[in-house]
Amino acid sequence: MKKLIVHITCLTFLVLASCSDEESQLAQGYEPTPLPLDIPSHFEENIIAPVIPNSNPQTVEGVALGKKLFFDKLLSGDETQACATCHAPQNAFSDNTPFSEGIDGNLGTRNSMPLFNLAWNYNERFAWDGKELSLERQAQEPVQNPIEMHSNWDDVINKLSSHSEYPELYRKAFNTSAITKELTTRAIAQFERTLISANSKFDKHLLGQATLTPEEQNGLDVFMDEERGDCFHCHGNPNNPLWTDNIFHNNGLDATFTDLGLGGVSGDPSDNGKFKSPSIRNLAFTAPYMHDGRFNTLEDVINHYSEGLQNSPTIDPLMKKVDEGGVQLTDQDKADLKAFLLTLSDSSFLTNPDFTN
């Protein structure tokens, strides 16, 4: 009898242990399938390799999970909004209004930033004011922000855990059934890193597959000419396909600040009014412009740098002719500059099936 009890006890223990293992791990030796980023050749040849955290390697299963999460309204409190609501593919993963409306109808105070080529943000400071120190951390914020998706992570994890598909997707992506906030944002970050935009007319021009019109070429010259546009010091040049320096500048929007930008994060008054330089890729799809979406058109933006600069103690020294209001472009140069800027828009990025729901 004692033997029988011992046998039954052992057997029960083994079965339970086995179940427990199965729950936490898909299979011993299972590894998600690595999925290196598809790096465009002119990125590879000209700039440093993208930043992929060792703690969050790109995998087929992780990206697939991240994509599903990015488009899933389950992440918001009342399940009416997904990440993609304010970062819509048709707007190069931005929003077409100055401020986005959260699930309760509240408006934010900053324009939704477009999402592409994020893995090349070497300093890993994200958002207009640089407050987010990695993509993974950034993805935590909107879900719980009361004026955005207004959920809380405990609820989100409960919903994901009891969902008919997600537990299996997490097992495949991370070899675990323990769904957590950290794994959720890792998956979203993996998907976001795949959002590579590098197929504009100007990219093709660099690859010898397209020719700029004379107007577009003059626009590039305006962009690169320190005595005309002088845009290149902050927005890069043909040798840097990111078209941003990814750092923070006061570009002369205001003489006094209602939004401190980087200064609100660093606490340093000399950072007041500084915001991240956005990439000038995909401008055809990302209006309105600036951190507060104040400019509806590219003409407005160009006019700002040409005649509308406002001096302030923290205006970037790279802003030219501030006492004249700006660089004073001719109408022709303004039109050509706009034509050049539009050559950096990549419509194939909007319709790439890997990036759409």
Binding site: D221, D225, E226, D230, H233, N239
Partner: protein
């Protein structure tokens, strides 16, 4: 007995210490590194001073620094017999972000006396024609219409409270466009002087930022403040000032 043990311990430490010295004395090659420090006429400058500490230049303008980064390349050790060891590489000294302030040389240098240690401020023309992914990533490029290549220096700030300046050094260029011309080279060699390398060594390169505005050209920021890249005369003035006293050898630690 306790005292005896203590004495033995001291003696043991003494011998160990002597042993280390002996190892050092027979060193035949050494690691070298260059530490770039910055001052304004002997007052130390660091990025903590940026955007708040005021300096007065030789022309009397009060200025603050917002951003400073510059390129040095081809560090060269010269022997008395004229033999040279050229370190084929470059370093971007980014004072704003505290990056590149120490440049560790990958190649060990034979110990001994060198009559000169030098480096190039910026890139010589051959190096300037290369493609460097790290410098591209920093958007340190010069527009093709100005001959392409890279900035030698970006030194930005404000003067007279609310005026901006961009003291950007590049290869002097005329006739911007498809076929620019180059009136003279504006990279230059900085000679730090004789150095005796006996051990792994750190050489301090002192950079006096005030000298960029001082000698032989007293720089007038009221007339030369922005859009200096296409201004070959301004570039040549930067060159003249840069090679006259901006850089000097500081301490040697080895």
């Amino acid at each position: 007995m306790k005292k005896m043990l203590a004495l033995l311990l001291v003696a043991s430490i003494g011998f160990t210490s002597c042993g280390e010295d002996n190892d050092d004395n027979i060193k035949t090659s050494a690691k070298t590194s260059f530490e770039f420090t910055h001052n304004w006429d002997e007052t130390t400058v660091s990025n903590a001073d940026f955007e708040n500490t005021e300096y007065t230049n030789a022309n009397g303008e009060v200025l603050t620094i917002t951003r400073l980064r510059y390129l040095i390349s081809d560090i060269t050790f010269t022997k008395a017999n004229g033999g040279e060891i050229v370190i084929d590489g470059y370093n971007l000294v980014d004072v704003t972000n505290n990056n590149g302030l120490t440049y560790n040389i990958d190649t060990n240098i034979p110990t001994g006396a060198y009559t000169n240690v030098s480096f190039t401020f910026g890139f010589d023309n051959e190096d300037n024609a290369g493609n460097y992914v790290d410098l591209n990533s920093e958007s340190f490029n010069v527009p093709d219409m100005l001959g392409g290549g890279y900035h030698y220096m970006q030194f930005d700030g404000k003067f007279s409270t609310d005026q901006n300046f961009n003291y950007h050094a590049i290869r002097a260029v005329d006739n911007p466009g498809m076929n620019p011309t180059f009136p003279q080279d504006t990279f230059f060699t900085v000679n730090l002087g004789a150095v005796n390398i006996t051990n792994d060594a750190t050489l301090e390169v002192k950079t006096n930022l005030a000298e960029w505005f001082k000698n032989p050209n007293t720089w007038d920021l009221n007339t030369l403040n922005q859009m200096l890249m296409p201004n070959s005369s301004a570039q040549i003035m930067m060159y003249d000032n840069g090679k006259n006293g901006v850089f000097s050898l500081g301490s040697i630690t080895q």
